[in-house]
Point group: C2
């Protein structure tokens, strides 16, 4: 994504529908101080006032799998209906480290491959690249994943002597697609994964940001439906906690072989062993920032993010309504887009191929940025689709940005 960063740096005044950064309006350093103190007070109570243990937990080398694992488990129960043994939680340096550790643990040799719904999050492709694991694309379909294709890709891979180890998917408001899997698809996906013996890597950074009406019941995560330990659940606090803490986690309650002796261990423990060689442990100070926020809201990040949820809901509506006003179906330029029910992203199909070259033109001449969708595919061939991020713009920026986008599209479509 270096090219995209360069464009963004080159045109700092352009309105950016490109970056998927969380809303900054409610971040402040005072909260960091407060959350640190809250977590320290929690430790003080837990350790019966033993200041040396409090200090040792917060400021010394510490437990490889983390020190907020119990709070993470409580949050998962409260917000996601996921019941998990805290020992199966590994707190990581953002979800990115969780992804890498999981793939590195699953990879034994060159025959191991990852399946991923294409288009896919660039971080997943990056982690797979770093772990030397080829990625086999699975078709997306309007349902979020083409399950028949998943089964076919896995079968073909096995016929070629490969070992499909897992399929990576974002079931809620996917990045980049914005698509969510409906309940029936979730259940069928799980059954298919059990049938063909494939782990599902469920990445859920946006699940709390459903834009439905108040009181709307969000769809259950794959992990909460997983009765067969077929799902490794990847979590991030970058959008719901604090992006500056760089804290994520993985729930890995599977049993895996330890190697020569024929024994088994928890996958989470295997990930911990790998983590000890990668980053040793996640900063307990950074963990405390998240831990304090979890404590402040009694484990519920849904509650903690009411204001953020309202911003994202408003922005998604403004972008969808704004697109509809600017691109009526019966007039040129002919632009179509999907209608996600939450999350950060909308995908538009333009009437022409929109690659990096056109992005540069659009940034320079029209002052608006977006992400060419081809970056989320294995190949490099430019496509007609672009991704719009709605997460960190003001209403005025959205309106001006869409005006500029509409002018750009109209003037190219001649």
């Amino acid at each position: 994504m270096n090219f995209l960063n360069e464009v963004a740096q080159h045109y700092p005044d352009a309105i950016s529908f490109a970056a998927g950064r969380p809303c900054e309006d409610f971040l402040d350093l005072a909260a960091v101080h407060r959350h640190l103190d809250l977590f320290a007070a929690h430790l003080r109570e837990k350790f019966g006032g033993d200041e040396q243990r409090v200090r040792g937990t917060l400021l010394q080398y510490g437990r490889t799998k983390g020190v907020i694992h119990e709070l993470v488990a409580r949050h998962l129960e409260s917000d996601e209906g996921i019941l998990v043994d805290p020992e199966a939680v590994v707190v990581t340096v953002g979800c990115q480290e969780a992804l890498f550790l999981t793939l590195r643990a699953l990879r034994r040799d060159d025959r191991d491959v990852l399946l991923a719904v294409m288009p896919t999050y660039v971080g997943a492709a990056g982690a797979a690249h770093l772990a030397d694991m080829p990625v086999l694309p699975v078709a997306q379909s309007d349902a979020g994943i083409d399950i028949d294709d998943l089964v076919a890709v896995a079968r073909r891979a096995r016929e070629q002597g490969l070992r499909p180890r897992a399929c990576y998917i974002v079931p809620d408001f996917g990045n980049p697609s914005g698509i969510s899997l409906d309940l029936d698809v979730r259940k069928r996906l799980l059954e298919a994964a059990y049938d063909i013996g494939l782990l599902l890597l469920e990445d859920n950074p946006y699940g709390l940001f459903d834009a439905g009406p108040a009181g709307n019941t969000p769809l259950p995560t794959l992990k909460s439906l997983d009765t067969g330990r077929g799902v490794v659940y990847l979590g991030s606090f970058a959008k719901t906690g604090n992006p500056g803490a760089r804290v994520g986690y993985v729930v890995a309650d599977q049993r895996v072989g330890t190697g020569a002796d024929g024994g088994t261990e928890l996958l989470a423990d295997r990930l911990g062993e790998l983590k000890s060689m990668l980053t040793v442990n996640t900063s307990p100070i950074a963990q405390a920032v998240i831990g304090g926020k979890l404590l402040e809201h009694d484990g519920s990040l849904r509650t903690a993010n009411e204001r953020e949820r309202a911003v994202y809901r408003r922005n998604l509506r403004l972008v969808l309504d704004g697109l509809a006003r600017r691109f009526p179906a019966d007039r040129r330029p002919h632009v179509t887009w999907n209608r996600p029910s939450g999350g950060f992203f909308v995908v538009c199909a333009l009437p022409f191929v929109a690659g990096d070259d056109l992005l540069a033109v659009c940034a320079r001449e029209y002052g608006v940025l977006w992400t060419p969708m081809h970056h989320f595919y294995a190949g490099d061939e430019a496509r007609r689709e672009i991704r719009l991020s709605v997460s960190h713009l003001t209403p005025a920026e959205i309106e001006t940005g869409l005006d500029r986008l509409a002018r750009f599209v109209a003037e190219r479509d001649t």
Copy 2:
């Protein structure tokens, strides 16, 4: 090191010469708050009071190579005489991530190997394992490294079709050996590395903890002597800053090929690209904790650690004097040890082989822990040597611990 952790957990009341943790006496949460605020004030001044930029730098996704790179460069000039472009600094999640990133960048295929002075730090061996890079041992010798052996190992590897990419070494108060390279050896090592086209990975976690008399001039780092960009310098703030921040860095000012197009880039930029797939960026909150401490002491961690330096100096003296009193040269049991001039570690040779089994006996029956040296070698065969860490014990614990060790050795040596 799981076995060692288990022993330590099993005998929490044993006196531990095993863990190499830094002294905790001067760590406190108030300093974390203060350092955060100091760094925020620094950003406020730098950004002319633009609170949004301050907040964005501290609490949002951020620059992959880090936000305290300029302060790190100032510290390196002030404390180590190393002049470096801040762009060549990558701030990492502890030195462990710096190690992994460097090895992962150097590895192109199965022919790439790492050389390392044996015995070697387990974290270096672990990072190499994770990066799928075999480690070829280089003999240590009393000088810290047998340079003739280094040259011979590299030559033999090349004859076998392998590509020795770098040699890992801790030139100051090595872990586990405690040995430091003298100035002449440093210069000869650099010349040899230039001659045979091998990078040196200089890891320097203990360099500030020389135990010489006040006003003693420490030996120059390899990097400060490096006129040929032959040294990648690995730094840690775990001992000099705050272990709970998990912040380290790597100085990588070499030019490397970018691949197909025949261009070159700074190795630091290549490491940044890999980091974007591994941990995205190091927590800016954690970086701020270190940045604030650097600001508080005008970039000098030598000054910031005067109290810690005094503790380590005292402890090293107590252990060396205490060994001398308990194991006179002319009497049994015959125990020998080296006499490091700083750092955290002393290596003792016992009159018998001291492996994990004897450590368990010693922990259970004598209440004292140490590290069997075989853990720092590639093989698994137990040896007579043990490593004693002096870093986080009180004088009373050292005396009692050495009494227990002496009783253990005397009772086994019959």
